[in-house]
Symmetry: C2
């Protein structure tokens, strides 16, 4: 692993200078907190990442989880890290004091998650899932469920999972068949199979708590018949001991990457003795689960960003140390070779990595800030932040996932043959990051969510609010000669986005739903580039402010580097919207006219 896996300076730049995280401490809910506490939290996370997580990064890839005698054996770091995540308050960092949490902003918890993920993505997944699962019980579970499960989960003794997918029901959740039979004892009997369950069973905890979707006998068809259950691997006997709950681990997948965390296949009720505890009301399970899914989607976007960041610093380090070739204008073989960072093409690849990584980080922390603001405001203001978060969640999940892959790939390319071999960490990052456009809703599903639901909901209210937000960056930037050309580009792009949206929604209005959504994935790509361009303009504003405040020489270099990366984004990534807009508005149906027979040979 490379020396550095993330930049503390950049993380704090985004949190404090771009997003003004400190302003949150004015809210009564966060009144105990301060920048010092946030800094201390992040410093601790960075130390844990460096000293605890990073050293096991490659080892966890080599020693894959094994299913032995019905239990999944994982690397010993998992137990240590879950324990520290519990004792250090990381799992419940964002929860209220009265729920056993630290009452820290989600934004700070997400930033810590970024650090953990950059140090060791697979390890970071365990507490992340536990946070989401316990939050779901807190939000919708009965007092009894909260009391039994949440403290154990927040302490890191019990793992939480989200158990949705089944062999016949992946993207199509309406087709789940896991069934829940009511009993007179206050619980349901669960029967069924779940597949692709991350951390679904492992030796790093004493118990695993599945937040599981199932259908109660006689429930309505489709998503309206889905209920949510707590299904523990081991349940508490009346005498307080843990006994088997008839959840069998049938298999562990052999994955290309993300090997430090097992993805399992589970079978419930093989002996007719699997008990599930209903969360909230019957048939409302999917709406509850969306809380965890939305959090997990931001979590996935952040994990992708983490991996991309670690890959960026690894290739940056290599590029500064590896001598190869000479400056292109002076190819004199008697001169010594120069480090490859001196070559424009290598700088282009590094700038690409940096622009994607830092743009994604900024977008995700922006979303987290909206989550914090929505959670602690009322009425119209709350609705505003909720809508912005809803709109941007599929973007903040997909852009870092899709572009993160390309970013890591460029990082690998910088190392040449070494990038393809396991002496350097790039090949592992490349394998690890590939899962992100798949899990927690594929990119295609996110695209349908964005265009088919979020953009059009409440007559486009979220999209209007979003445009307002973007203008809050454009307006001051237009006043700054350095930033003006970029503010103008962004303004123009909003017009393009508007035109594309109107064109596509036109199909919906004519009832041509298939044409409306056929290229939703490309629409998501277009939307993502503009969203990250917005974040880069915000970073540009903050950098200009930093430069005007009389910085030290080193700080000035940081801000100038930011501005160069912003320029890179606008000159290299931004023009991609032209081709996308052309495609999205040319009115020619290809994929809907294509049919199976034409794929025959």
């Amino acid at each position: 692993m490379a020396e550095r896996f993330m930049s503390e300076r950049n993380l704090k730049f985004v949190l404090y200078e771009v997003l003004d995280l400190e302003s949150l401490t004015k809210l009564p809910y966060y009144q105990d907190h301060s920048r010092e506490i946030f800094d201390l939290t992040l410093d601790t996370a960075i130390r844990m990442g460096r000293d605890l997580l990073a050293p096991a990064f490659q080892e966890m890839d080599k020693q894959q989880p094994q299913l032995v005698n019905g239990e999944v054996k994982v690397h010993s770091l998992v137990r240590t890290f879950m324990k520290e995540s519990g004792e250090g308050g990381w799992i419940g960092a964002g929860f209220p004091y009265d729920a056993g949490g630290q009452q820290l902003p989600t934004t700070v918890a997400m930033a810590a998650g970024f650090v953990f993920g950059a140090a060791n993505f697979a390890a970071g997944a365990y507490p992340l899932l536990t946070t989401g699962a316990s939050h779901l019980i807190l939000s919708f579970g009965s007092d009894e469920l909260r009391e039994i499960y949440v403290p154990q989960m927040l302490s890191g003794k019990w793992q939480g999972t989200m158990a949705l997918t089944e062999p016949q029901a992946g993207s199509s959740l309406s087709d789940i068949t896991t069934r829940a039979e009511p009993t007179d004892e206050g619980y349901y009997k669960i029967f069924g199979q779940k597949i692709f369950i991350s951390a679904g069973d492992h030796s790093g905890v004493d118990n695993v708590i599945h937040l599981m979707l199932a259908k109660i006998k006689g429930a309505p068809l489709g998503v309206k018949g889905i209920s949510l259950f707590v299904v523990p691997k081991k349940r508490l006997d009346p005498d307080g001991t843990l006994v088997s709950n008839d959840v069998t681990t049938v298999g562990v997948y052999h994955k290309m990457g993300y090997k430090g965390c097992p993805i399992t296949q589970l079978s419930m009720g093989e002996n007719g003795d699997c008990r599930g505890y209903l969360v909230g009301e019957p048939h409302k399970g999917l709406s509850y689960m969306f809380q965890m899914m939305n959090e997990a989607r931001l979590g996935v976007g952040m994990q992708a960003t983490s991996i991309a960041a670690a890959a960026y610093y690894a290739s940056l380090e290599y590029a500064g140390e590896r001598p190869q070739g000479r400056k292109i204008a002076t190819k004199d073989p008697s001169l010594p070779q120069v480090p490859i960072i001196e070559h424009a093409d290598v700088r282009r690849m590094l700038l690409f990595q940096r622009a994607i990584t830092e743009g994604s980080l900024s977008l995700l922390l922006q979303c987290s800030l909206y989550a914090d603001l929505a959670a602690h405001s009322e009425g119209e203001e709350k609705e505003r932040y909720d809508l912005l978060l809803d709109l941007l969640t599929p973007v903040a999940k997909s852009y870092p996932s899709e572009m993160g892959i390309l970013s890591v790939s460029q990082g690998l390319q910088i190392l040449g043959g070494y990038g393809y071999c396991d002496e350097f960490p790039l090949e592992q990052y490349y394998r690890d990051i590939r899962i992100h456009p798949i899990h927690e809703g594929t990119t295609g599903i996110q695209a349908l969510d964005l265009l088919g639901r979020k953009v059009v909901m409440k007559n486009g209210a979220a999209a209007r609010l979003y445009f307002e937000e973007v203008y809050q960056a454009i307006t001051p930037a237009l006043q700054d000669p350095t930033l003006k050309p970029y503010a103008e580009k962004l303004q123009e792009a909003l017009g393009t986005l508007q035109a594309v949206t109107t064109h596509l929604v036109g199909f919906a209005l004519k009832g041509e739903v298939e044409l409306f959504l056929a290229d939703a994935t490309l629409y998501l790509e277009l939307f993502g580039i503009i969203a990250v361009a917005w974040q880069w303009l915000l970073q540009g504003l903050a950098a200009q402010e930093g430069l005007q405040a009389g910085p030290t020489e080193q700080e000035a270099l940081f801000y100038q580097g930011k501005l160069m990366t912003m320029r890179y984004f606008y000159h290299y990534e931004f023009p991609k919207i032209q081709g996308l807009a052309t495609r999205l508005t040319d009115g020619v149906a290809v994929t809907t006219e294509m049919n199976r027979e034409l794929f025959a040979d």
Copy 2:
């Protein structure tokens, strides 16, 4: 592995209907051949691919080569396949009869290579390297070298390699330090280290023959001092037995993919007894080696295309069988689920895979045809084909390699979670294909070759000839109402390419070499999209011809599928040139202005 790894129908469509391969048989050199012989050759290759190579595809990935007692142990298929490649005449397929070859067109040999690569990419690499190495000895070696080495190599008993890279000299070959000390015995003593040598040592052959670059003591600095040597692993004693030639295998790399073929690290002359035999004249080694490098570059492009094709058919098969969700306009959960190929987004991904794969295949076979025509024509005609081949080689290497990665990635995405696991072959294809933008000259090196050398050589002669070739597709297509819109788009794009080229060459004319070449990689990308669009227009013309000839129903579906894929390419891939052209002509320097200090944090 999926049922099908390539399409025989498509391969023959490109060879006979698009490229008119049969016309080659009118040349005296190929007078013994006929379409029947070509077909028989391809049918045999397909059978070998299916029965011999494909069954070991996943096994060779799991059982990586191991260095045991100084020799690299590989899967038993390697020996079998090398033997069959020798006995079946595959290694020397394109060589003249008098050199022990089959005198088949290179185009047919490349098509067979495509089949082998699609069945089992790693296995296909062994004979491919042997062909290139023996061709180099045939072209530039002494009679003695030809007699000793070529027959053994063509028989598949001895492996050939290209041994260029050293720890300090990868992309920068001018910095090699392997040295050759003259002796009075007709050979040189070789001292040095080579790294990243594919098939550099293995148990599937009796000997390994390295075509190795080294510098003779006192040679000029840089590339002008590089000589080419035959350096066998074992040399022939006067009594005819093979004895060690002091070439030590120091290590085998642990790679992310391409695991069926060892990449080795070699040390020459540890005991002062490594003999090298000079090929051709001293100091001209790099110019000789370019023959093998250029062949290998097309070979790499073809291997990438092979993997992309195999991935396409694997995901096509899955998409036709996997039920998930319902048609977007009729989301009634009481209806059965439909196969995912019914979803527009999945069709888009499949069409992307198909457009990339079949476009790449066509471009590579076009290049092979130019090679055949150049080899068997004279004067101006020969120069024409040589120039076209020179110009297109970096494109035909890079486009399939770079876009093949994205194509396989979309294939993996179609399988969702299953794509990420090793029950299906997609994850292996994804790992395997990633090497192609790296070996045989990285994409960055190809880009410098295209823009810095090929486009400007002889005052742009090659580019002018290329435009003429493209017009040979545009002109007839303009007469066909179905193809006209695409012919017009391509015509316009040639104008764009011309303008971009003029803009960039302008920097060169002003002596601003760094600015001229800074974005060469993006220029290569732009050039590649247009080149593949040209091939798609040619395929469109052939499909229209096929449709007008009164085809069977099944054949008509094939031609219609071709036209749909052509439309896909023009409506989805082609618009990307807009953004690239904007970037390439906006005149703003970012990567050259960026400097190391600005990457500080």
